[in-house]
């Protein structure tokens, strides 16, 4: 196996999100030339330039595009790494980051927020709370069973279904005034979040990502059978809990602020395994990088495709589902 070219590829993939980030600053309805864009970006440090840049351009770059792109980076990385972590933990690359009920819990929390509190509180608080609650429920309920892995997944499916049913109930009785806002939230979007929202979610996501990325080698061992992992010296309950808690936190944080964006946690780690092998020392960082890149690109497409704004979740589904079908056929090479 040629090691050098491979390495170059990995380094490129790790740097790619930054490149796409910079390029994405240029994408948008208002055309801003690269020169003006560069000036604007540097203007906080160069006061003389600050005076030259029109307020509109400044706001477009710093108040509209920058937060949106940062959110795409963070959410893409969070969902991908969360998916990769859970896939190792559950020893199954067909697991995704929502499998423990996070998306249904978050959706229900958001719906409750819109219906009960309207505009008084931002939806992400309840969305986050119920996302975490869903996972806690899954863990509590599945503890009673003998077979840990299977029952957690099954319980996840059940709890998801439960919260989906609750969501339908809320939708049924909600006034049309609240439904509009809920509908937009559910579709997933990256444009609503402002700096205030990012100030809370980015650090949470950042911290969680750091924990999981530091544990990247450990995932190799965690993906063995429970008995083997324990015999190798893994403190299984503690380490599993850390992984589950962290993955849940970053997924809930990402989902609560950006809505439900599907397929990233499933497809990206799988793609990464096909490119770089199954060693989690590579899979995790590359998943973060590729997840961020994919979401950035999907968002770029979503906002430049037509005169109107297409929810980014549609693109991740449109791209993700066919890719998933293709990858499914090659799954046997990577997993048994």
């Amino acid at each position: 196996m040629a090691a050098k070219p491979r390495r170059a590829l990995f380094v490129f993939l790790l740097v790619l999100p930054l490149l796409v980030f910079v390029a994405s600053l240029y994408v948008g309805t208002s055309s801003i030339s690269p020169a003006v864009l560069a000036k604007t970006l540097l203007s906080p440090f160069v006061p003389s330039w600050k005076a030259e840049i029109p307020q509109a351009i400044f706001d477009i770059v710093f108040a509209i595009r920058l937060p949106r792109l940062l959110l795409a980076l963070a959410v893409g990385a969070a969902l991908a790494v969360s998916g990769a972590s859970l896939q190792s933990l559950f020893k199954n690359p067909l697991v995704n980051e929502y499998i423990l009920g996070i998306s249904s819990g978050a959706a229900f929390g958001a719906s409750l927020s819109f219906v009960v509190f309207g505009s008084r509180i931002p939806p992400q608080i309840l969305a986050f709370a119920f996302a975490v609650l869903a996972v806690v429920l899954v863990l509590l309920i599945s503890r009673r069973s003998d077979s840990p892995v299977v029952s957690v997944l099954l319980t996840g499916v059940i709890v998801s279904a439960f919260f989906s049913a609750l969501l339908s109930l809320v939708e049924y009785f909600a006034s049309p005034y609240s439904l509009q806002a809920l509908f937009f939230w559910l579709m997933g979007n990256l444009w609503k979040a402002g700096w205030a929202d990012l100030a809370v979610s980015l650090p949470v996501i950042g911290a969680g990502l750091a924990v999981l990325l530091l544990m990247r080698w450990r995932f190799n061992v965690l993906s063995l059978s429970d008995e083997e992992a324990r015999s190798l010296g893994v403190r299984l309950r503690r380490e599993k809990f850390i992984v589950l808690a962290t993955a849940t936190l970053i997924t809930a944080a990402a989902t609560s602020v950006a809505g439900i964006i599907g397929w990233i946690g499933l497809i990206v780690p799988h793609l990464v395994r096909m490119i770089g092998g199954v060693d989690n020392r590579r899979v995790l960082p590359l998943s973060a990088a590729l997840g961020a890149t994919v979401l950035l690109i999907a968002d770029d497409i979503a906002r430049s495709l037509a005169a109107f704004e297409v929810p980014v979740g549609i693109f991740t589904s449109l791209i993700g589902i066919p890719l998933f079908i293709i990858l499914l056929r090659r799954a046997g090479k990577v997993w048994r």
């Binding site: 948008g28 309805t29 509109a56 706001d59 005169a307």
Partner: protein
């Protein structure tokens, strides 16, 4: 389901593009063509009426045929405080639909209406009613256009045998419009303020066509979007597009009950991202009444005058909105202080004054 407004709007405008006028073939009260282009046979005498479409329900009341209503839809029952004043009798009518636009077919059939008015966007509901109950369903909607609203009025008037009343209401409507039009005489196109409408509680959700804006001497910033894609009534635009359009005025959807408004003048003025807009800097951000895809016949006339005062204060300085509003409501619904009541519900005394 939550995608209602989008889907509904989509179907609506596709239909609108296909069938520009729905009364073209309607000569006798017994057959007509509705918004969806369907030919429907109506009995000559219509005594029992059910409307699932609030705009039509309000027209039925305006036409003086409220006593023929046999049921009421969820929106007018639960979410329209004005209608409770316009037609208090609605509280006694059986409820026939739920928040997700589902109808109770059994209740419906049991009420045995002679005709049902439906919303074109709820096509599957219409088909379910027709196949299961065989009651004729007429799908009508004005889609933000006065001409269609007036045609609707005439059609419903004809169905109910209240053509005279319909003519009365229509001429009142047209008189007011021409009154406004005459004051706008000689207005150069460049003097029309560019207006961005932010409806349905989302900053970037805008109706691509909303005639009161045009009739009041303004220009809808989003009007160009209609040709770019196969039609929705409303479009969600990227926020940057709003900046590119650089509207002079921003109008917010005021028909939301005040506690339910997520998008408020205060929140828009405080939004950092659009702080550079002329409209925001000059604080030309106002509420307007707006519609929930369905108009109130009286309200929309007042709205046009209200907007005219905002767009061209010099030409409408002497226009007494409250007097005009109350007289419209008196003429249309026969109630006193209708406009004042509406203002109280929507707290619109805060809109026009105290800026």
């Amino acid at each position: 389901m939550v995608h209602r407004p989008m889907r509904r709007a989509f179907l609506l405008l596709v239909a609108a593009l296909l069938v520009p006028s729905f009364s073209a073939f309607a000569q006798t009260p017994t057959t007509l063509t509705d918004t969806l282009g369907r030919n429907i046979a109506i009995p000559a005498k219509v005594e029992r009426v059910l409307s699932l479409q609030p705009e039509i329900t309000r027209l039925v009341v305006a036409l003086g045929a409220a006593d023929r209503l046999v049921g009421i839809d969820f929106f007018l029952r639960n979410h329209d405080d004005l209608f409770k004043v316009v037609f208090p009798g609605q509280a006694k009518l059986p409820l026939v639909s739920m928040a997700n636009y589902n109808v109770n077919l059994e209740v419906l059939a049991g009420l045995a209406p002679d005709v049902i008015f439906g919303a074109p966007e709820d096509r599957n509901v219409i088909e379910a009613i027709e196949t299961k109950t065989r009651i004729p369903v007429v799908a009508l909607s004005s889609m933000g256009r006065f001409a269609r609203l007036l045609e609707e009025l005439r059609l419903v008037g004809r169905i109910l045998g209240r053509e005279e009343r319909a003519r009365e209401l229509a001429s009142g409507f047209e008189a007011r419009l021409s009154g406004i039009r005459s004051r706008l005489e000689g207005l150069p196109h460049s003097s029309r303020p560019k207006v961005f409408l932010s409806f349905w509680n989302v900053l970037t959700n805008t109706p691509v066509f909303y005639e009161p804006v045009n009739a009041a001497g303004g220009a809808n910033a989003a009007e160009g979007l209609l040709s770019s894609y196969a039609g929705t009534l409303n479009a969600v635009v990227p926020l940057e597009k709003v900046l590119v359009w650089a509207p002079d005025i921003i109008l917010l959807h005021g028909n939301y009950p005040p506690p339910r408004r997520e998008l408020t003048v205060a929140s828009v003025l405080a939004d950092r991202r659009i702080a550079s807009l002329e409209a925001v800097r000059r604080r030309r951000v106002y509420y307007t009444f707006g519609f929930w895809n369905w108009w109130d016949f009286a309200e929309v006339q007042v709205e046009t005058a209200y907007l005219a005062k905002i767009f061209h204060p010099d030409r409408f300085a002497d226009l007494d909105l409250t007097a005009l509003g109350n007289s419209v409501f008196r003429e249309v619904y026969g109630i006193e202080n209708g406009y004042s009541t509406l203002c109280r519900i929507l707290r619109c005394e805060e809109w026009v004054h105290g800026r």
